[in-house]
């Protein structure tokens, strides 16, 4: 997650997801933004906070096997630039989604719950907590 271009690729993927949802004719704008937010957070939760270990063999004698991707990032050092970026991006998406859903209650609750589901595991206090 530090290598060159990965943040740009991530942003392009999120924009692509939004455009694809936007292209579904029978979805309204609030639904599209809420879906973008929820799908993005679901995928982020799955890849960063659920799947443990590495999809390939590592020479660390299985140390990483019990850690989620988020805990393995930057050897566990907190507040690195990648961690900050991945913490800020769901918040930006949440603000956009809230704005485009005109802060209607139902959408607001869904978006907030979804945001918290990816923000809480990112807190340093939850590092390694199961």
């Amino acid at each position: 997650l530090n290598s060159r271009g990965i943040w740009l690729a991530y942003i392009i993927l999120v924009v692509l997801l939004h455009v694809i949802l936007l292209s579904i004719p029978f979805f309204s704008i609030p639904v599209v933004w809420t879906l973008t937010n929820v799908v993005h957070n679901l995928v982020m939760y799955l890849f960063l906070h659920t799947v443990k270990g590495t999809p390939f063999e590592t020479p660390d004698q299985g140390k990483a096997r019990l850690l989620t991707h988020w805990e393995q990032m930057d050897y566990g050092i907190q507040f690195t630039s990648s961690r900050k970026f991945l913490s800020i991006s769901p918040i930006v998406l949440y603000l956009l989604a809230s704005f485009y859903t005109k802060y209607e209650a139902v959408y607001f609750v869904i978006n907030t719950a979804s945001l918290l589901s990816v923000l809480l595991p990112k807190l340093p206090q939850f590092h390694g907590v199961r």
Partner: protein, 39 residues
Amino acid sequence: YQYLLITCSYVLEPWEQSIFNTILLTIAAMVVYTSYVFI
């Protein structure tokens, strides 16, 4: 060939390539249609 290489369809099996191309074409069609309606 470049399309196959860049999208990695080159290493997919034929049935996977069909799935991939179908999804891609569907998305492209939807985007075009919606853009048309929107514009």
